[in-house]
Amino acid sequence: MNQENGDIVSPSPAIRLDGVSYRANHTDIIKKVSGQFPTGNITALIGPSGAGKTTLLKLCNGLISPVQGGIYIEGKRIEEQSPLSVRRHVGIVLQSSPMIQGTVQANLALPLQLRGKTLSEEQAIATMERVGLPTSLLTRDARELSGGQKQKVSIARTLLNESKILLLDEITASLDPSSLQEIEDLIVKLKDTEKITIVWITHNLEQANRIGEYFWVMVDGQLREVGTKEEIYASEDEDVKRFVKGVLS
């Protein structure tokens, strides 16, 4: 692996992993991963299906715990913080865009409701506009939305938690090109204006190319390459070479 990560590696990364392994059903899913997500940057997390990308994000949000190794959020070991504060600080948009029973409005209100607050009408409307959804959808049954609409609700819902670190799992997979552009712009703007750290899993290498400032390439539960675009492109790892095949350029 390339040890020279250029000057993007911050002395105080938003998240740092140190020899993290995860196992389920007697199979190793994450194998001794060490690395970091630099503060205030977008890290594109790429790799083939089944590489363990989703599992890695769930580890960082505290939905699961490593069997070995340490995860540090802003320098503090995850186990030393309450799971609730970790999860609010490190927001995640899940790959499957799960919806709770009820309307779109109820789904948007969920993060606030969990803290005993309510979502005002104006907030709801502003949130919908932010992700490019018509406000007429607010009263619709969230489970009857299209895949793309669900993804947008899911993004908007996590944004309402105002996390300082955002983990995005394939959030544009079902979006049309113009919606995709809107969401990319929204996330990039969030990063620029609010200094939010982003980790973005995508299968779309052109997207990774557009939004990524730092890259993680995972294959088979291992972190095979990290660094800038150029560093990934110059990788010696056969699997990484085959995977990026000239797209990152």
């Binding site: 799960p98 919806m99 969990l114």
Partner: protein, 252 residues
């Protein structure tokens, strides 16, 4: 009824056996086991009760009730094997309900404090509580497993374990109580409850039998509600790790 005439009732057991055989229901073994177990258990209980009633010593009453509770726990715990410590959670639930109902019944002198009353009413309370516990545990584990992604979503947003399965918990409590409530609604119209029939057959005044049965109806409604709620709140936390992560549930 003599033992001889009772043995004639075995004819009734042949009907399900025959049906099961011809229709390939595969229930022969279970039917036989059920018939055999009920025979042995009831006869044994008859003799034990006779002894307890004759002695009228409180220690035997307490032992008898404890035996019922242990048997009920034994029966219900398989349904909740995904829940850590389900054995003692069931035990606590049944004991709490038994203590509560007996306190009201005996404390307010609703029934006399004799072995006959205490044991028969305890049997009904604990039996009903056991059925409720089984219904609840079945439903609860299935609901939680079926809505895993929603629970995970709520946890991921910083919700507590309670918040993440609250809907499943309430739904299971509600669903497990419905059979008790529904059967009480038609009581007397569709079927005469077993105990009332028994009393009438034994020659009791129907009005007296009805009064007593009403007491039982209210008692069972109360135990139904208490069982599911108590067990629900005792057990939901064990579906999560210390780090508030939802454990995998093994449904058989």
């Amino acid at each position: 009824m003599s033992w001889m005439t009772l043995s004639l009732t075995l004819l009734f057991v042949f009907i399900p056996l025959l049906l099961s055989k011809t229709l390939n229901l595969g229930l022969e073994r279970d039917t036989m086991v059920a018939a055999l177990r009920s025979t042995i258990q009831l006869i044994a209980v008859g003799f034990v009760l006779k002894f307890v009633f004759d002695s009228e010593h409180p220690i035997f009453i307490i032992l008898m009730v404890l035996l019922m509770i242990v048997a009920a726990v034994q029966n219900a715990r398989h349904k909740g094997k995904a829940i850590k410590g389900i054995t003692w959670k069931l035990f606590v639930t049944f004991v709490a309900i038994e203590v509560l109902t007996q306190t009201v019944l005996l404390g307010l002198h609703i029934v006399p404090a004799t072995a006959q009353y205490i044991i028969s009413l305890s049997g009904m309370v604990i039996g009903n509580s056991m059925v409720l516990a089984i219904l609840f545990l079945n439903r609860f584990t299935a609901e939680v497993e079926a809505h895993r992604d929603e629970s995970e979503l709520i946890l991921s947003l910083g919700g507590t374990p309670k918040q993440s399965i609250n809907r499943q918990l309430l739904k299971s409590i509600q669903a497990s109580m419905i059979p008790t409530i529904e059967s009480q609604k038609t009581i007397g119209l569709v079927q005469l409850p077993g105990m009332m029939s028994g009393q009438i057959i034994a020659g009791a005044d129907p009005i007296q039998a009805v009064q007593f049965q009403l007491l039982v109806v209210f008692l069972l409604l109360a135990t139904a509600a208490m069982t599911s709620v108590l067990l629900g709140f005792l057990s939901y936390r064990s579906l999560f790790t210390e780090r508030m992560q939802l454990l995998k549930i093994d449904l058989d």
